[in-house]
Every structure is written in C-alpha cells, then in structure tokens.
C-alpha cells in the first residue's frame, strides 16, 4: 500500500495534503496521485463492508478526498481525469427533504469515479426523468427517509415507464426505512443498505 493510500485509509487529512503537495513538487504525475486516492477510497469501502470502518469514517474520507481533488484539479488535464465509470442521477424523492444519506452516496460515487448528477431533495418524478434523458444516464439512485414517501418512489418508477425509459434505467433505492419490501412495492430494481452498497451496485450495472 502506497503512502497516499495509507494516509487516506488512516484518515490523516493534514499529513495526506502535505504528502500530495510534496509529490507534486517532486514531479509525481497528478493523475497517479488521483488514482492512488481512488484506490484509497476503494480500500475504505472494503473496510466499511467488513465493519472495520463506519459511516463517520466514510464521511471523513469523502471530505478528505474532496480536498485532495480540489488541490489536484489545476494540475489535471481532461485526459488525466480519464473516462468516468458512468453517469448516475441521484436525488431524494418528492416530499422528502433529507439530504445527509444522499450526500454521502454522492460523495462516495464521485470518489469512485462516477459522474453524478445530483438533483437535490424533494425531487418530482418528472425531474428525474428529464435528468436521465438529458444526460443519457442509466442509473437512478433514489433516497427516501420517510415511509410516507414510498409513493414518491413508486411514482418515479411509473414516470420512467411512462417515458418509455424504464428498461434502460437501473433503479436503486436507499435510506433508513427502505429494504426489499419497498423494492417489491415500488418496482425499483434494488436497495442499498449503505453508501458502499450503492457504489457496488453502480459498478455492477455499469461495468
């Protein structure tokens, strides 16, 4: 495990930033540093799956990753950034304003090199359809923290059908009161118990 990966997994933000600056000064390719950070995020995802890291660790790691990405951005060319793994439209469903879980998923997806179109909270079904069509995206990740908003998930899936794009879009749902029962109720394709599960799902369906 390289130093960059090690520091990120240890959540040593200040030391990591220093190490990145030193690497840049020493002429290490920015794309290599970014790739190391992405490898660190993959390792953190693994630790999370093994219950050796927890939600707060994911949030801290995402914040550090964001800081390093911002630091590297001026040095990266479009080619350095590489081909993303795919596009994912994300949002919290209509009538639900909770954004914390959604934001963790957005950060983890970005760190895993997905292009994320984040529509925010309280998103009407038609807006999800529009974003999927405009961005030619094949994955829709819906966040829902309220049992009273299951109908919003259902309506969003129905809106995809009405727009004729249901077959092209993989729908994953997540949030505290969401499980396989809600998948069955709403007609979604899967549920993610946590942010890492969402990342794994996106990798699976966009691979």
């Amino acid at each position: 495990m390289g130093k960059i990966v090690e520091l990120l997994v240890a959540l040593e933000d200040e030391q990591l930033i220093e190490a990145v600056k030193e690497d840049l000064k020493a002429g290490v390719a920015p794309a290599k540093i970014l790739a190391d950070c992405q490898a660190g995020m993959v390792a953190i995802g693994e630790e999370f799956s093994q219950e050796r890291m927890f939600v707060s660790d994911l949030m801290m790691a995402s914040a550090i990753f964001k800081d390093v990405s911002e630091l590297l951005l001026p040095y990266l060319s479009a080619a350095d950034a590489g081909e993303g793994l795919g596009k994912v439209v994300v949002g919290t469903v209509r009538d639900d304003i909770h954004d914390i879980g959604k934001d963790i998923v957005v950060n983890m997806l970005q760190a895993a090199n997905f292009e994320v179109i984040d529509l925010g909270v309280d998103v009407p079904p038609a807006d999800f359809v529009k974003a999927l069509q405009e961005n030619n995206a094949n994955v829709l990740a819906l966040s829902c923290l309220l049992a009273s908003c299951y109908t919003s998930i259902l309506d969003t899936v129905e809106a995809l059908k009405a727009a004729g794009i249901r077959d092209q879009v993989n729908v994953i749902i997540g949030g505290g009161p969401v499980d396989e029962h809600v998948v069955a109720y709403s007609g979604a394709d899967a549920f993610g118990a946590d942010a890492q599960a969402a990342v794994n799902y996106c990798k699976e369906v966009l691979a």
Partner: protein, 377 residues
C-alpha cells in the same frame, strides 16, 4: 395496594415485571405518534399536532379502538404534544410542521443545517451551557407561541395529561425525551460538519458536552417522580454504533448515555435507550447498565436475536417491527415477523411494538396484527 384503577394497575404491574424479567407474557406495546389522525375522521395531522386537547383525545380514542381489537398493555411514546418545541430544543434544528411548512397531513421533518458556528463550542463552554445559543437560535427556529405550548404541555398541563392515560388504563413508558449532548450538537452543527469536528477537535467537543451534561443532570434531578412516571427515553439517533467509529463512540457517545441512564435511575425513572439504526457492535456495553433496570428500544436495524444472546436477561428489549413492513406488508407477514422474533427471543423482558415509530401511513390492520399476535405469547 391500589395505585390508580384496576386496569391501569394490572398493566403497570406487567410493565414492571417485564423490566425485571418476571413477566409471563410479552408486553403488547403501542407505538405510532402520528398514526391516530390517519384513521380518525375530521382531524388533520396539523390539527392533531396544534390543538392539544383534540389531539390527545384523538390519540386516546385510537388506543381504545385498537384495544378493542386486541389488548394493548402500554404505550411507548404517547400523544406528541408540544412536539415541535421538544424536537427543536433536542436537535437545535428547524422542524417543518404539517399545516405550516408542509401540507396538512404530511409528517413533520427536520430541516437540518449548520446553525452552530465554529466559535460556538467556546461560547457554550464559557457560558456554562446553551443559554446564549438558545437566545440566538430559537427565534430563528420556532415561533414563541409554539415554544410556549411545549413548555405548557410539559409543565402545567403535564399531570392532567398523564392522568388521562391513567384513567383510560394505559401506562405510558416514556414521559419525555432526554437528549444526550452528542445528538444536540450533531443537529445544531449538522451531521456533516459535526462528524468532522469529532475527528479534528474531539477534545473541544468533549469539553462542550461536559458543560452541557451538567445542565441535563440538573434537569433530571428536578424530575418530580409521580407514580405514573415510568421511564424516559434517552434518544440515540446519530450516535449509533454503525454510524460512529469506535474511538468517537467511546469518547463522545457511550459515557454520556450511561451517565444519563444512572441519573434517571437515581430518580426512580427507567431509562429507555431509544436506539435508531444498528447497535450490534456495542451491545456488550449495555451490560454496564444496572441489571434488569433498563429497556433497549430498537428500530429493526439492531439484531434483537444477537442482543438477547449477548445480553441475556440483563436489559429488557423493546421493538421492532420495521416501519417499512407496517406500510407495505400484509398482516400475515407482520404476524410471521413477530412470531419468528418471539420464538427466538422469548416473551420474558420483551415489549413487542413498532420499530422506532410506526409511520402515519401504517396500515391499520398491520398495527392490529402486532397486538393480535402478541396474545399468543
């Protein structure tokens, strides 16, 4: 010796026996703060929340209706009077309410944002409490009338309110929320910022929590212990084991929860550890609480079978039919869930109820199913 009335006293006895693992049958417990207006004609959720007299009556009528279908032994969290004030103070957040920011029948939602500034830890420490924070934030978060209604409900009206449950024969387990400092700061800073604080300035957060604890402990000491007062929730939402890494949990969550539990017990009040999300990692720690004096109230995400295995007869368990099942599953599925659970963990020291809180859109027949199947155990 008769305490209040025969029905109440019998049920109260059953509750106390369950806490001490002396109950023969499972305790059938109602939980569903926002459900009653869904199944009552002529009252919206907004009216139910706003008009305490009508709201409380609606709640009690709903209890009677359910009880006529299948017996209810007690209530976990009763009519949520003054709820906007309670939640605002607990989480230092704006609570969007039905009929105000939300449609008439939409359940309340927390609008969590960073409202505590970077220097506010020092401000709390220097002031010796949240006084200046309340002065600055409360006018932004809640109107004075709603806040007054909260103080009135839990102040001058409280005794009369609780006696309504007594007269109706329903012991109420939770008579108020104790919010640990971790949860209050998390709401006020917003979770994204607060969790970063926990890594980058854990000492400062701890110092702030210590100051806030003094105030909480004083409030607990001032509890006027009436016979009907059974327990209080110690609320755990963001401090769950699956949310927080071990060091932060060991430093900022558990020591405070434990201390609050002991303080409540000193007043003769049963600590009800209300646990959102999964606490599987740290179940062993609940053995540090006094033997057969506390209740763990889970939401379906903590593994109650594991809890029983780890904790044995140390603490009573309350849970945990998941809210999603109450909304989308059938009564047969609910019964199957409850039967499997009770077959595995047994009825002793168990309060069977909805996990966390039954949502307002719970199917009526699913709520009945919980209490019906409880009779088998």
């Amino acid at each position: 010796m008769m305490m209040y009335n025969e029905t109440y006293d019998q049920r109260y006895q059953k509750v106390q026996e369950a806490i001490a693992f002396k109950n023969k049958y499972v305790v059938s417990t109602y939980m569903g703060q926002s459900v009653p207006p869904t199944y009552t004609d002529g009252i919206t959720l907004a009216e139910y929340m706003e008009d305490h007299d009508r709201g409380l009556q609606c709640f009690l009528d709903f209890m009677d209706r359910l009880n006529s279908e299948a017996p209810i032994d007690c209530i976990n969290f009763a009519y949520p009077g003054g709820h906007q004030g309670a939640l605002t103070l607990a989480w230092l957040s704006k609570i969007n309410m039905p009929g105000k920011e939300l449609p008439e029948d939409a359940v309340w939602q927390v609008d969590e944002r960073k409202r505590l500034e970077d220097g506010d830890y020092d401000l709390i420490i220097e002031a010796g409490g949240l006084g200046p924070i309340y002065d600055r934030l409360l006018p932004q978060l809640i109107d004075q009338e709603s806040l007054n209604r909260f103080f009135k409900f839990y102040g001058e009206d409280f005794d009369a309110v609780m006696m309504k449950y007594v007269e109706a024969g329903y012991p109420v387990l939770n008579s108020g929320i104790v919010c640990p400092p971790f949860e209050t700061l998390c709401g006020g800073r917003s979770v994204n910022v607060f969790f970063m604080d926990c890594y980058k300035q854990i000492g400062k957060v701890k110092e702030t929590q210590d100051v806030m604890m003094s105030g909480l402990l004083e409030q607990i000491k001032a509890i006027d212990k009436k016979d009907y007062l059974i327990g209080r929730w110690i609320g755990h939402w963001r401090g769950a084991s699956n949310m927080i890494n071990q060091k932060i949990w060991d430093t900022l969550v558990w020591p405070y929860s434990k201390k609050l539990a002991f303080a409540l017990l000193d007043q003769g009040v049963t600590p009800i550890m209300h646990l959102d999300s999964s606490w599987d990692r740290d179940l062993e720690r609940f053995k540090e609480l006094p033997y057969q004096k506390c209740i763990l109230n889970t939401d379906g995400m903590t593994d109650l079978r594991k809890a029983r295995k780890v904790l044995g007869d140390h603490v009573a368990l309350m849970g945990d039919v998941p809210s999603q099942m109450l909304t989308v599953s059938s009564p047969a599925e609910i019964k199957d869930y409850v039967r499997r659970l009770l077959d595995d963990i047994g009825p002793q020291g168990v309060f069977i109820t909805a996990g966390c809180d039954a949502p307002s859109c719970s199917k009526y027949e699913n709520l009945v199913a919980i209490h019906e199947v409880a009779q088998e155990f």
